[in-house]
Symmetry: C2
Subunit: 361 residues, 2 copies
Amino acid sequence: MSNNNATSVPEAYPMNGGDGTYSYTKNSSYQKAAANVAKTLIDEAIAEKLDIEDFSSASSSAFRIADLGCSVGPNTFACVQNIIEAVKQKYGSQMPDFHVFFNDHAANDFNTLFASLPPERHYFAAGVPGSFHGRLFPEASLHFAHSSYATHWLSKLPEEVTNKNSPAWNKGKIYYTTSPDQVFNAFAAQFRTDMAIFLEARAKELAAGGMMVLIMQTIPDGIHQSRIPSGIMFDFLGSILMEIAKEGLISEEEVDSFNIPVYTTTPNEMAELVERNGSFSIVKMESTSPWLKVGHIVNNTEQRLARELRAGMEGVFKTHFGSDIVDQVFDRLNDKSGQLINQLESSHRQGTQLFLALKRK
Amino acid sequence: MSNNNATSVPEAYPMNGGDGTYSYTKNSSYQKAAANVAKTLIDEAIAEKLDIEDFSSASSSAFRIADLGCSVGPNTFACVQNIIEAVKQKYGSQMPDFHVFFNDHAANDFNTLFASLPPERHYFAAGVPGSFHGRLFPEASLHFAHSSYATHWLSKLPEEVTNKNSPAWNKGKIYYTTSPDQVFNAFAAQFRTDMAIFLEARAKELAAGGMMVLIMQTIPDGIHQSRIPSGIMFDFLGSILMEIAKEGLISEEEVDSFNIPVYTTTPNEMAELVERNGSFSIVKMESTSPWLKVGHIVNNTEQRLARELRAGMEGVFKTHFGSDIVDQVFDRLNDKSGQLINQLESSHRQGTQLFLALKRK
C-alpha cells in the first residue's frame, strides 16, 4: 500500500543517523533556525485558521499529527511540541489525546529517533517508515501534517539527467544552477510530478478541515539560482568533485552522471501546484529568511558549516561515489569553508524559505 | 505519557536484532509454531465474536490493529496478515483502511523491522516504541490488540529476588522452578502487578467492542514447573552458569543475583486477573500444545535449539554477565543440546500455551 501512487520506487537518502561527529542529530542548526523562523507562523496559522469544529463529524478518538521527513531529531521533537502547544493554547481541555506520527524513509535511523524521544512528552508517538511520495496513512485520519526541509528532495533523479545521450546530461556539474535549460526543465518536471503525488496522497489522508504546513527552500522571483545559498553550496561541492576528477581519483563521467536530487521551487509555482490539486485552500503563504539568522554564517564558524552540509548530504554522495571519496570531498570542503562562507555572505539570503499553510477543503 | 501507569521504568530485553546468525529474525521457529497453533483460534474468534457494528459509534477512519511485543519479524508480519485476512473474510468490502501498529521496547531493532516490512502489504504500518506496561495509544483508538509470547516477560525483576538478605534471594538458581516458595511468590506478585497495569492500559486504548488476543506460556494445573519445557530450559541454563562459576570465571553471587524475568501463569490465574480488571469479557480461552509441533524437538536438530534460545534470551544474560560469558553459556549449551533435547522429549508438552481472546465491554 505504501507508494502505490508513485510511478516508481522513490530513492532514499536519509540524513546521517546515530549521534556521532557527522550525525544529523548534532549537525542540523540550519534546519533548527529554519524551524524557529517558522514557529511564529505556525502559531498564527493554528490560532487564526484551525477549526476543530470541522473535525466533529469525524468524532475522532485522537488529534493526529504527522511530521513528514522527520529525520532522527532533535528538530522534529521541538516542532511537534510547538504544534501541540499552539493547538492546546487555542482549545485547552477540550482536546482528545495527541497521536504523533514521525515519518521518514525506511532507511532513516528510527532506532536513534526512538531512543531520543522526549521522556516527558504529552503525546503518544509512532514511527512511520516510507516515502511521502505515496500513501502513508488511512483515509481522512490526520488532523495536522507538517514537513520541514524535506519536500525539496526529489523522489528520484529525472531520467533524462542520467542519460549520457540526452540534452539534459549535466556535464561537469552536479546541480542545475548554471546548466542548460534542458537540465533545469528536467528537475522542474520531476518536482511537479512529485509534488502532485505528494498533494494527492495528503489530500486523501487529511480529514476535512485538517491543516498542512510545508516549509521548504524557495527562490524569490527574479533571482538567479547561482545567487542563493543552496545554489552556491551545491556548485561549490561540484567544483570540489571536478577538482578530484582532474587529479584522477574519480572519472569526470562519474561527476557528470551525479546530480543532487533537490529542487528549489518558487512561491508562484507552489501556489499553482496547490491550485491544480484542488483539495486545499492556501491559508498562509510567506517567504522568510532563516539564512540571515544562521550562526555559522553570522559567526563565521567554518568547521560547523562543513559538518552540517555533510550531515545532510553525505548519503547522496556516498551512494554514488563511495565512502573514500565522501571523506575527500568533505575534508576539502572543510579546508575551503572560509571561501564558501565569504560567498554565502555576499549571496542573496532574503526570502529563501517558503512557509505554506494549507487547509483541507 | 508513556509508562505513566507503571510504578517504575520497565526494563528492556529486546530479542536479538539484525539478521545475523543469532538474530531473532532467523531464530524464532518456536514462536512461529506457536503462532501457527494460534492461527485457527484467532480465525474462529474473529469469525464468531468480532462485531464491527460495535464500532459504528466511533465512526472511525481506520481499523487499527496493534501487535504488542512484535520484536523484529518475521512472525509479527504473518500474524498481522492473518488477522487482517480473517477480518476481511468476515466483512469484505465494508472495511475501512487497516492501520497496523508494531510495538516493542524502544531498544528493539526497529530499523530491521521496518526494512523487512512486506512490500506488498495491504495496510498502513507504524512502529510504536515503548513498554506495554503502560499506555501506548490514545483512548479508545484500537480495534484489535494482539500479543504473542511477550506478556510472560516481567516489567522488572521483583525487588525481593535481588536482595541478598531477603528470603526470596534465589541462591544457586536463575529461575524459580525448584526454589523456595518465597521466590515463586515474588515472581507471581510481580506478574500480577504487571498484568493489572497491562490490562488497565489496554482497557483504555481499546474501543468498546474491540478484541484482544493474548498468546502466552502457561502451565497446566497440577503440573510442576520443573516438568514443562520452559522450566527445563531455564534450569539447564542455570546449571551451565553454576558450572562456569565453579570454574571461577564468574562468582557464584553473580549467578545468585541473576534471574530470568519471565513468569508462567495458569489459565485460572489469567481468568481471575481479567475478571478483577473488569473491562473485558473472555470470548475464548484454550490451552494448546505448540511444543508437540516444534521442528528442533521433533527432528532433534540440536544447533537450532541453542541458536533459538540464544536469539530470545541473550539480551538478559548480556546485561548481567557481559558478552564473553554469553558466548561461553551458549557455546556450552550448543555442545550439550542433545542432552537438553532428551530432557525436553520426556517433558510435559501438552497445554503449555494459553490462547486468550478478550472483548472490551
